[in-house]
């Protein structure tokens, strides 16, 4: 798995469905030295809220080099001012996602 480059777009709330499984998968990939970027779109930005139960696992992931990006407009729409440390807030998340998605040696998932 090392030398894998993976872009994951999280478009739903991290608290819905089988998302618990998703974060375990992300930890697995991070442990296997995959280059991981998590794009928080739509309700996916809820993962960026400071103080949630997810903060520990997100912190673990960022310490392993995983990059979390969130759309500024989506954060503002939801009144999310206090966000997790090391979050990259961007004005054009979709453009950055497409850049990674279309790179030859990158894989992309939308969840």
């Amino acid at each position: 798995m090392s030398n894998s480059h993976i872009a994951v777009a999280l478009t739903h709330s991290p608290y819905s469905g089988e998302r618990e499984g998703l974060f375990r998968l992300l930890v697995l990939w991070a442990d296997q030295s995959a280059d991981l970027r998590i794009y928080l779109m739509g309700n996916g930005v809820l993962a960026a809220k400071e103080g949630s139960q997810l903060e520990d696992v997100i912190s673990e992931l960022t310490q392993k080099g995983v990059v979390f990006l969130a759309d500024k407009k989506e954060l503002n729409a939801r009144g999310l001012r206090n966000t997790i440390r090391n979050l990259r807030v961007t004005d054009n998340l979709v453009s950055e996602f497409v850049d990674d998605l279309m790179k030859k040696d990158w894989k992309a998932l939308v969840i």
Binding site: A9, T11, M41, V98, L101, M102, A108, L109, V110
Partner: protein, 131 residues
């Protein structure tokens, strides 16, 4: 530059997946890539003309706008379209099924067309679910 196929299974407005699909397509086209959007299951509803929206971006209009790009195609699955009352009749010589319900440029074909698109594409993303 590459070819991206976007598989969209969510209908318009019940989730934001169609909006995200259009935005991804738009960015990819601006960067010079070719984009195919395959509409499947409730996704076939996205290409319907005559959508009137007050509370969200108009997906039909977004697709109509994107269809002005030469390198963008919208193809809907015949089986999904028939079950939703959108397609009637037999396929023509190009394999397209007739409908008068769609924005100009969107076509309806067999699910096997998705196989052709995937084989010829560099990347695929699927916007499914919609919760």
């Amino acid at each position: 530059m590459g070819t991206l196929t976007i598989l969209l299974t969510s209908g318009p407005y019940s989730s934001r997946h169609p909006e995200f699909a259009c935005r991804i397509a738009d960015e990819a086209l601006k960067k010079g890539h070719k984009v195919n959007m395959f509409l499947y299951m409730d996704g076939v509803l996205n290409a319907k003309k005559g959508q009137i929206t007050k509370d969200s971006p108009n997906i039909g209009e977004s697709l109509a706008e994107l269809l002005k790009w030469e390198n963008f195609k919208v193809i809907a699955c015949i089986r999904s379209a028939q079950s939703r009352g959108i397609a009637r009749g037999e396929a023509d010589s190009s394999g397209s099924y007739p409908t008068d319900e769609y924005v100009a440029g969107a076509v309806i074909k067999s699910l096997h067309e998705l196989g052709n698109l995937l084989k010829a594409s560099d990347k695929v993303i699927a916007l499914t679910g919609g919760r």
